[in-house]
């Protein structure tokens, strides 16, 4: 299934009187693997939640293919059929096995039991954890849990995958495996993938890097030795167009 085209235009989100995202605009082409980098509190999670239909913007537009996400009053179907979400804390249900966690989105979609089982096992195989299908999350390592969460995000065959700091609590080796897995997912499924992360190693696996500082999003190069994404100040307006090109591609 081809990935989604994501168009964001003048997106603003204010929370408790504070502007978290300010006039954000960018375009992601179908099938692109894009990094979203920026310091803590810069608005990465808020942006992903808006794109995923978990939150609604204060103003602006979000178009995912022909779906006006910003205007969705009942985003359940959009979340179920278009988007796959990977969270930093994986959020696996502790009482369910790895396979049952992967099946959750399919339960919501009323996929028949047998088909659900088969599909979940295929996905577990794809993330290299078929042998742990019956394991509870408590018996899995951090990296394994996050791979299960990725398999769950793929369960609805999404056109857009949003990953929010998926390696935030993992060591370097596990982090590298997650990046490789997401890159292979893009190769196999053709999904559009947007990954928010602090980890600069991610830039070796993506095609574009959207930087975000103080709620402002801008295009940034992929050179891992470039300015530190954790820097607390946004780039000066009118800076080097190569390093800090406007995100409104």
């Amino acid at each position: 299934m081809p990935g989604s085209k994501v168009e964001v235009e003048k997106l603003t989100r204010a929370l408790d009187g504070k502007v978290v995202l300010r006039d954000v605009s960018f375009l992601i082409e179908p099938g692109e693997l894009v990094a979203l980098t920026g310091p803590s509190g810069s608005g990465k999670t808020t942006l992903l939640q808006l794109l995923g239909g978990l939150d609604r913007p204060t103003s602006g537009r979000i178009m995912v293919d022909d779906i006006a996400v910003h205007a969705l009053r009942h985003p359940t179907r959009y979340r179920r059929e278009v988007v796959g979400f990977v969270f930093q804390l994986h959020h696996l249900l502790p009482a369910l096995s790895a396979q049952e966690n992967v099946e959750l989105p399919m339960v919501a979609a009323h996929v028949p039991r047998r088909e659900r089982h088969e599909r979940a096992r295929e996905l577990l195989d794809e993330v290299g954890l078929l042998s742990r299908a019956a394991s509870l999350p408590s018996s899995l390592s951090g990296g394994e849990r996050q791979r299960i969460a990725i398999a769950r995000a793929l369960a609805g065959q999404p056109r857009l995958i949003l990953a929010d700091e998926p390696t935030g609590s993992l060591d370097a080796l596990a982090t590298e495996r997650i990046w490789e897995l997401l890159a292979s997912v893009r190769q196999r499924h053709g999904s559009t993938i947007l990954i928010a992360s602090h980890d600069r190693g991610l830039l070796q696996h993506v095609e574009r890097n959207l930087a975000i500082r103080e709620g402002v999003v801008f295009e940034q190069g992929l050179d891992a030795n470039q300015s530190d994404p954790d820097a607390e100040t946004p780039p000066p307006s009118g800076g080097d167009p190569h390093d800090h090109a406007p995100a409104n591609a």
Binding site: L54, R77, H91, L104, A108, A155
Partner: protein, 369 residues
């Protein structure tokens, strides 16, 4: 069906939480069952109370606080004997709590040759012959290890056991019979009786007998069956209403308990429900899951409550020292009612938590670190 199976699995995987939630419901249900059982038992016991020597009707003073406090003039007996359709009438005095070492036993003051006592079968000895003797029921004799010739104290009067009888009516077999005149003296009812037992002519039905007597003696309460027995006095009515009020209170407490437990469960699992919303579960799907858990837990709780209630009723009666007056009586209808109440508690108690779960904001909850 899928929802049911998934819910069962979810409950099975959290055994402690399921047990504690069910326990909340069980306590409410157990209270209801115990109250129904005790109140039913009181009614059944009162029904037996009327079965005095195969009498057809028992006459009491209307609006007496309690059957044992009823006071009737002895002159009534003579008038009854001359009433058409009545074959025999005999006065009785009842003494409750007067038998030493057996506070639940009833001492009956009766004439030794009345129709009430003429069906006694003596296992040893014979009927009393004066004010210094007592005939003891087989149950009471066994309880106090009495034999003919032993002494039994009633209302501080030492009486010699003249015989041990068996009747087949627990209240009589667990009690004793003394001379009517002595009982009047001990009860302070000289010239009066507690009740008059009436035997109707073979051709007269109980309904006809009640109609005839109530027309001629409008100030009497005529008891012909167990349903009427608890109405014999103000105490009976109060007891019945108190049981109803307590059952309603237990219902409300049970309902609030289920809702509170379910709400706590939802708050504790808000990340889980937010996650379900994030991966595409709709509000109604999440609410249905919570409701199904609530109902199933309540059914489990109701089953547990039925057991606790039946056992609890026995314990309650024993603790109150009323086991000799009331035998808890649980009917299939009582159990059915309790189960129905359990399901209703699950539905009502689960509604608000289900609504809360369905309205959780995944963005807010999942962003919490």
């Amino acid at each position: 069906m899928t929802t049911l199976l998934q819910t069962l699995e979810a409950l099975e995987r959290r055994p402690m939480r399921t047990f504690l939630t069910a326990l909340g419901t069980a306590l409410g249900i157990a209270t209801i069952v115990a109250l129904l059982a005790v109140s039913g038992g009181a009614q059944a016991s009162a029904s037996k109370f009327l079965n005095l020597g195969s009498s057809d009707l028992g006459l009491f003073q209307r609006d007496a606080a309690d059957p044992t406090t009823s006071v009737l003039p002895l002159a009534l007996v003579g008038e009854l004997r001359h009433t058409r359709g009545i074959q025999a009438a005999t006065p009785l005095v009842l003494l409750v709590g007067a038998v030493h070492r057996a506070p639940g036993a009833i001492a009956f003051g009766a004439y030794p040759d009345s129709f009430v006592t003429d069906r006694y079968v003596f296992l040893a000895g014979r009927m009393f012959t004066g004010d210094r003797q007592v005939a003891v029921g087989s149950g009471l004799a066994a309880q106090l290890h009495l034999q003919v010739g032993d002494t039994l104290t009633i209302a501080h009067h030492r009486l010699s056991v003249s015989g041990i009888y068996h009747m087949g009516v627990p209240e009589q077999d667990d009690g004793a019979v003394i001379a009517f005149g002595l009982a009047q003296k001990l009860a302070g009812k000289v010239g009066e009786a507690t009740t008059v037992a009436v035997s109707l002519a073979p051709t007269v039905s109980r309904t006809q007998g009640i109609r005839t007597i109530s027309r001629r003696f409008p100030g009497l309460l005529i008891l012909g069956d167990g349903v009427n027995a608890p109405r014999t006095g103000v105490s009976g009515v109060l007891l019945s209403r108190l049981a109803l009020v307590l059952a309603v209170i237990a219902l409300v407490i049970g309902g609030v308990g289920v809702m509170n437990t379910m709400l706590m469960s939802v708050l504790e699992r808000r990340t889980e429900f937010a996650l379900l919303a994030a991966v595409g579960w709709s509000g109604p799907q999440i609410a249905m899951r919570v409701m199904a858990e609530g109902i199933l837990t309540s059914i489990i709780g109701a089953g547990l409550g039925l057991l606790l209630g039946v056992v609890g009723a026995q314990l309650l009666v024993g603790l109150l020292g009323a086991s000799e007056y009331v035998a808890p009586n649980v009917t299939a209808w009582d159990l059915g009612q309790a189960l129905l109440v359990g399901v209703l508690l699950g539905v009502l108690g689960g509604m608000y938590p289900a609504w809360r779960a369905a309205r959780l904001s995944p963005a807010k909850v999942l962003a919490e670190r």
